[in-house]
Symmetry: D2
Subunit: 336 residues, 4 copies
Amino acid sequence: MVIIMKPGASTAEIAGVISRIESMSLTSHPIYGEERTVIAVVGNDRPVEKSLFETMAGVDFIQPILKPFKLASREFRKNDSAVPIIGSNGTAVNVGGDKRIVLIAGPCACESRSQVLESAWAVKEAGARAFRGGAYKPRTSPYSFQGHGEEALKWMAEAREVTGLAIVTEVMAPEQVELVSKYANVLQIGARNMQNYALLNAVGESMRPVLLKRGMSATMEELLMAAEYILSRGNYNVMLCERGIRTFETYTRNTLDINAVPVLKRMSHLPVVVDPSHATGKSEYVLAAARAGIAAGGGRSDHRSAPRPEQGHVGWRAIADAHGIPRSGQTGPPHR
Amino acid sequence: MVIIMKPGASTAEIAGVISRIESMSLTSHPIYGEERTVIAVVGNDRPVEKSLFETMAGVDFIQPILKPFKLASREFRKNDSAVPIIGSNGTAVNVGGDKRIVLIAGPCACESRSQVLESAWAVKEAGARAFRGGAYKPRTSPYSFQGHGEEALKWMAEAREVTGLAIVTEVMAPEQVELVSKYANVLQIGARNMQNYALLNAVGESMRPVLLKRGMSATMEELLMAAEYILSRGNYNVMLCERGIRTFETYTRNTLDINAVPVLKRMSHLPVVVDPSHATGKSEYVLAAARAGIAAGGGRSDHRSAPRPEQGHVGWRAIADAHGIPRSGQTGPPHR
Amino acid sequence: MVIIMKPGASTAEIAGVISRIESMSLTSHPIYGEERTVIAVVGNDRPVEKSLFETMAGVDFIQPILKPFKLASREFRKNDSAVPIIGSNGTAVNVGGDKRIVLIAGPCACESRSQVLESAWAVKEAGARAFRGGAYKPRTSPYSFQGHGEEALKWMAEAREVTGLAIVTEVMAPEQVELVSKYANVLQIGARNMQNYALLNAVGESMRPVLLKRGMSATMEELLMAAEYILSRGNYNVMLCERGIRTFETYTRNTLDINAVPVLKRMSHLPVVVDPSHATGKSEYVLAAARAGIAAGGGRSDHRSAPRPEQGHVGWRAIADAHGIPRSGQTGPPHR
Amino acid sequence: MVIIMKPGASTAEIAGVISRIESMSLTSHPIYGEERTVIAVVGNDRPVEKSLFETMAGVDFIQPILKPFKLASREFRKNDSAVPIIGSNGTAVNVGGDKRIVLIAGPCACESRSQVLESAWAVKEAGARAFRGGAYKPRTSPYSFQGHGEEALKWMAEAREVTGLAIVTEVMAPEQVELVSKYANVLQIGARNMQNYALLNAVGESMRPVLLKRGMSATMEELLMAAEYILSRGNYNVMLCERGIRTFETYTRNTLDINAVPVLKRMSHLPVVVDPSHATGKSEYVLAAARAGIAAGGGRSDHRSAPRPEQGHVGWRAIADAHGIPRSGQTGPPHR
């Protein structure tokens, strides 16, 4: 449930509520807003007695959260969350929260220093704000190339220095989180690890922004529950990534679940990102999928009150996590 | 395979080729183009000896069709096909072939004369060019309402007279084709009947435009093979409809396979239509899905040569097969 | 709902109940048992007022049927139904209702008179009680061989005369039902036609035993609802056939849903048949799948009261719808 | 590829081959058989030149392994592997390799010392050879009970001391492997972690027997590739576990892919285990699923040479990983 404090509730009143929550072996997640403070109460599956809080000083009212995910839900936070991604020059770009499209692009695997630097420049010229490359690669076969590891992280850090692009890269095990965080700005959780709870807990404690990819056959609720693991450890900088699901179709590698864009935005305040490269698996369809992603995010989810979309007014950010760098200026969806 | 005749091949030369095809118990499908004639040869699974045709008078060259679908393939016809839909005033609107968006909308089931007439006006005011309503309803339960049948067809015919909208309605059995064709302009094949071959053959012989819906768990190739059944009977007026596939997701009724738009357009010359209502199953997501459908069709499938899309320049037609009539002016994607 | 008449209710009392049912535009399905008569009331989605019947003369009590399928449910009929299949010599074998295993086998398609006769003898020697061959073939491609039609039906009828085996064959369209019924003992509805309602209604009126195959991606409830279409037309001789569902697996053509055996037997009184050939798609796995089918049907669904299975005491019938005739004596599960 | 040494090849010859393999930065996996030694060569995706080895002293011939999994394949090892599970009294029971059925059973989660001890006795009386209980629980929600951890491991170790049953329990993160190995005899990898490669590597180095569960939507090939990760680290004691896959069915929690039993046994020498509890999700269907699992494993995969199964002669081991302890003597499949 969420405890909504009165506007102007005192610090002591807020502390009193938090103290009662913790005395019950529950966890409090306060958000200190400009106008008022709201405090989420989470902890276990048992229902919490509302009346224990609603008469406390400074409490305005209590709102139950009916969904199984709490901190990730729209009921907890009405406005879109923005996740700041910080490049080398210290300027942050927000993913979510306003109307700019943010592109992330880069090669599947970092193969050499020169490949990383060249593709970073190409990606920057194509309008991307962050560079994504693989240092540790989850491979179906133990005999396949597993990535250049820390060496690749260093190449990417160098690319950040020279281009200013933020770095996004996958982390595959709890014990890698510290090392990867030394170099990368965003930690990616891959589809195969979406329910690797030890890893979710580890990135939940790192405070780095997390790009959380939907599992290959996961439902949206399972994705939101995975996000909840990270949020419940105190890291609210989570981006949800639709990267295509496994279906019977053979003409594409995966099936982009475009419905996920409006549905996740309605269910959750977290930013939604689309990966058109994995979601199609063929470069000739990446552009169409990226455009669809932007268009699907452009409208408010309730069509009754939705204004007609205007040129240059898309309310959603696409991440073209492109495999194989397309020629500059032709990469992804239009941006401005 | 496809036999491409020389520009200026004589009528006698064309007849000679067709005659040889038929002497081999195969079927010829000629397309008489402005510049030249091409003739598809279909018939059975056995390969046809190319050399039997390539030395004939008037023959320019032979192109094999490697896909299992022949008449539906891009290899058979390079340009987009247009399917003309004709309303009461005799003016046709093309689905496919140019850049206008065509909307089809209407209620799931025709429930009364007044409901049909009122919703037809609402649909027309919202910008649709065709009215879609159910007269015969495929129901999971034999005890559910099965539709008003011929009476509903008459209501829709009346709606066409007064609004000028073309009529689209489902046909469920071969023996219904004649009756439904008396009233409707477009015959819809529902998802559950996508592989009802007796029905595909029947509409293939009727020459009415067909809106062919993808089966709930069908692959794109299976959809194209179902279209091939209709085309092989001589009816080339087929529209392919992506209406959402069955997946594990529970927040939506179906999953819109948005990849199908660029893939089908690359594989086939037939127009591609999206049904955002069934593909989401919830009215709050119809607008986002419709926009995604338009955006996915806006780019050519090969991004290397694709120009940036301009405002008002979408190359694909969406059909908002809306259940429950939304308020006028707010229905579907923008059109002009 | 089901109206359970008292033991010894008079003919007039039964007629009175049926008459009231029909006066309400509902349909009655009486079962005249040895001990008492029960009458199912079906008709539409609206609930029927129980009190209208429970005070009528001869009525013992009313049992609602909560499932969406009514006549197919265990609530309607407690005991296993038996479907009699009749061979040429007039002797019937029951599928369902007792403990014998009934095998059906034969080639995918009937290719010639000699192939049909030879394989019928092989099938008989291997212990099968019915021969299954394809006369009309549902083919993904319109250019593939579509079956020998009536000629093949005649070959199978001849095979029945000489071997005594009953004949099972697929019917694909309502207008074929009459012709196919002239030759075949059991009408098969293929997986692609499981929701072809015009066809279900047609076989529902024919009174021939029906082998109803589960659709490729259909749920068990959808299968039972398809059976309900047939039953609601008065044809109670329906066998449910699990033939494998579509999954992501590539090592087999389909995935045998072995859970369907105990689940369908718990939900419904109709006999359950397994098709191990389509469910695996590879001859080397047919034997294992057939054995699993028999084993899954051998126990009562409630393990709390289940006795240990004894040798030779399997309570379920498998149909090895084998493609490619295995050598005699090695085909399928043991029979006696 | 696999290098098959001649019968009687000398130690020096074997060492020579291994030395050449390692000089090429590849890894050798020798199996020292009674009759002869075979050496698998694995390492990366590149093909290895056969001729470098086939003329070496002591080498008989080279057999390529075409499958992407090498050490897990039948091509590497013709005979069924046996995985020994050791209980408290030091007596081992083999899973795989002969004809006895081995049952593993126990509660989903260890909830208290008394629950563990009581259920261990019940499981033993029902004929099981190993006890399976959850100490660390992978939970969709971070707020659900996550297991009693090391305390639960101690309860299970105590249960082993008193009953003699071996202990099977899930390990969820690489850093848990050492701790869990102190108490458990078999490490279970759960379905959600099937592609958690850091974890697979960690158990691959631990040498404890591993029960590897198939991912919810994984193909058999992906399961075998996951096993290959463990084998390639030198731990050959891997059991493959079919625990049901995600499908569209709603009457059961998962769908038992019974085809996996003969297919995995044909593709691999590793023992195959069925989990009838997760694969159905409802206790009333566990018995039927367990029986089907045993029956599916009873025949050799090639039916042409398969003898009729005899009473008490089932060639496959089922593990009834039962949730909720059924009453003694009625649990699972018959054993002797």
